[in-house]
Amino acid sequence: MGKRLAGIFWSLLFLAVPVLGVATFAIAPAYDYWLPKDVSEHGASIDSLFYFILALTGVVFVVTEVLLFWFMWKYDAAKQKGEATYIQGSHTLEVVWTIIPAATLLFLAIYQMNAWADVKMRRPAMSPTVEVVGRQFEWRLRYPGRDGTLGTADDLFLVNDLHLPIDEDVLVQLKSMDVLHSFFLPNVRIKQDAVPGMKIPVWFKAREAGEFDIVCAELCGWGHYKMKGRVTFEPRAAFDAWLERKYAEQGATQPPPEAADVAAAE
């Protein structure tokens, strides 16, 4: 009898895995422990893919874990009178449980390609809105200035304070001066490593105004944790006004010292 109780106890412990697992995911959003607000145009496709995979793996998770529980419960030696079933395997079952996941995964693989291509492959035909350069431990920004081209004398230099217009495509040219960094905008569902020696284009379209975090998501040294920037999305008019203001501040004075460094990283 004690043995039987032990079997029940252990089976229930394993049943707790799917129960509490699903519960954790169900409760988390209520406490705002969940995907941060998304203000981008492409973000919805990423989030829905996340939910889709969550549902798919959730089902697989629950089914397999419950089966595991059930077999532990049912086939406990303390409960069994006879012998275990002598069976070596089943060809049909092997085929079935290879084909079904294969089909599922293949579907998933094909289904997601479009979202990936949108974010990383279909670069809009435009010149960079801003150049973002990672440097230990700050984000150096360079706007093309009035002439609209980067690398000219009227470029505008800033640090950590990124402003971008909403409702239009923006193209960020991402570079690094020293080590790897990663340009992570949680609220825009954008992440891209900045690699020394490479110019990597990053594009997106924000749909909502607001101020959000820029996180460095690739280990870049001791100060990695504090390599924080802010991005402000605002309507075109406000953005232009801001640019104008910054431009006036920088004015005819010498470009700040970091300007030379950024240029050197060219």
């Binding site: 990423i46 397999t64 997601q112 891209q192 690699v195 996180v215």
Partner: protein
Amino acid sequence: MTPPPVTATPAVEHGTVVGHAHGHAPKAGLSHFLSTYVFSKDHKVIGLQFLFSTLLWFLIGGLLALAVRWQVAWPWSDVPVIGKLFAQEGGQMSPEFYTMLFTMHASVMIFLVIIPILAGAFGNFLIPLMIGADDMAFPTLNMLSYWFMWPAFFFFGASFFVEGGAASGGWTSYPTLSTNPASSPASGMGQTMWLLGLTMVGVSSMLGSVNYMTTIILMRAPGMTMFRLPMTIWAMFITAILQAFALPVLTAAGFMQLSDRMLGTGFFSPEGNVVNNAIAGAGGGQPLLWQHLFWFYSHPAVYIMILPAMGMVSDILTVFARKPLFGYRPMVYSIAGIAGLGFIVWGHHMFMSGMNPALGITFMVSTMMIALPSAVKTFNWLGTLWGGKIQFTTSMLFALSFVSMFIIGGLSGIFMAATPVDIFIHDTYFIVAHFHYVLFAGTAMGVWAAIYFWFPKMFGRTMNEFWGKVHFFLTFIFLNGTFFTMHILGAVGFPRRLADAYHYETFHHLQPMNAFMTYCAIGMVATQVIFAANFIYSMFWGPLAGRNPWNANTLEWTAPSPPGHGNFDYQPIVHRGPYEYSVPGVEKDHLMQTDPPNAAAAAAAAAH
């Protein structure tokens, strides 16, 4: 091949400890002690040497993890007890120190614990015993493979005490952070020692793997065809192949990084790389090249870190379900499939790295496909339990939890394999959750299953079941408390490798959850005291086990416990596969691989 002369199968004696295959006249003296316990060429002693060393490092790695957890939960607060040892001001850790902590935590766990405990400890101990050999094909080489670990132990261990501290470039050691000392004042010498240590682990694994393959190919007992090998051996065999083909690539890359650091070449730094206002070498190289080489090894390495556990768990499940393994051949093929596919998916670690996004798609597809053999394995484990007669021993509980936890870890892999989703969760705690589920909740639980299971063969005594179950229960609870919640952190985008993320508005509110996880982690490490005590006590005072305490079928259980030098006191001859449990019509519920066929037939006849 002439039939072997002696085929006497020993009666299974109970209660022997020193069932040595042959009497050793006790020799005294230091040289005897050294050659028996220190510079031994006996695969069992070498296996135990690996086991003890790796358990010790496991403890160190676990303590490093606790320090990591402390900082994540309560950044910049004074570290209790050990804070005084390293902190500059008060007892609070610096961000440099934090980067060093998780780098060395991961490096220790991967290179000094999981890889050597699987292949080194269990591979060494089990391979000759389970195939019916008296030792490895090349015992001296085998001994060297253990002794090459010592320089690695030294380099990793000593690096904590050199100027600037141990390596702090992450266990992935990405350039140019790792190649350019100016970029990371926190690790100068330490990073170099890390690379040297890595090379030594590589030499050790290489020596081991070629030896294992040779042994398994040439030294199987008569009748032990490849498809009568237990899953443990299949897994070790294929792991050895993975090691042999993947590791040299990392070794080559390691030399290139060493050369970048010490000679000033620029394999991994681009031209004109300016770090801390200093031009760093001539350059002309590519930072991404390192990532390709590193992951070409380290992705197969994650399977090196789980296949042996899968093999051992398969065997343990059959023993305690008293059932044949469901789908033996599919199980073998799926290991081979994982190993084969494992070589073409490395790019899934580099989706955000700046690698050509079109290449990302091919890696995404191959990564999706690698879930298939894993699916086959999972379903076959479930199939093995179905209709069984399950005995809830400690070993079985750990094996069952391996299956349960591997499913979680594997399924989270699917999120990351989906490239668009990886955009958001890459380098967040979602990844940390994923790999702790496969590595700790998976492999380490599998290792515990194996320790409880083969302990009697190693020391002739069984471990205490009650305390074993307490150990299992607490570990199981605490591990899920620590790691399951990491998925949620990941869903918020909480980045990994950050000494303090709470100054970000997005992550500010996550501190209570992190504190909860840290409490669980503390509980988890504390629980291991029970394990350590049980282990050490049982080694000397546990109940005697006899040859075959679990009524298992494989060859090692026909040898004395512990086996003497030369392993077998008779010529093992194999008549069947390893999983003949509950054969209908046979009175005994298990037919050992060595049981002669006529005995089986006789037993069957008697039963009718």
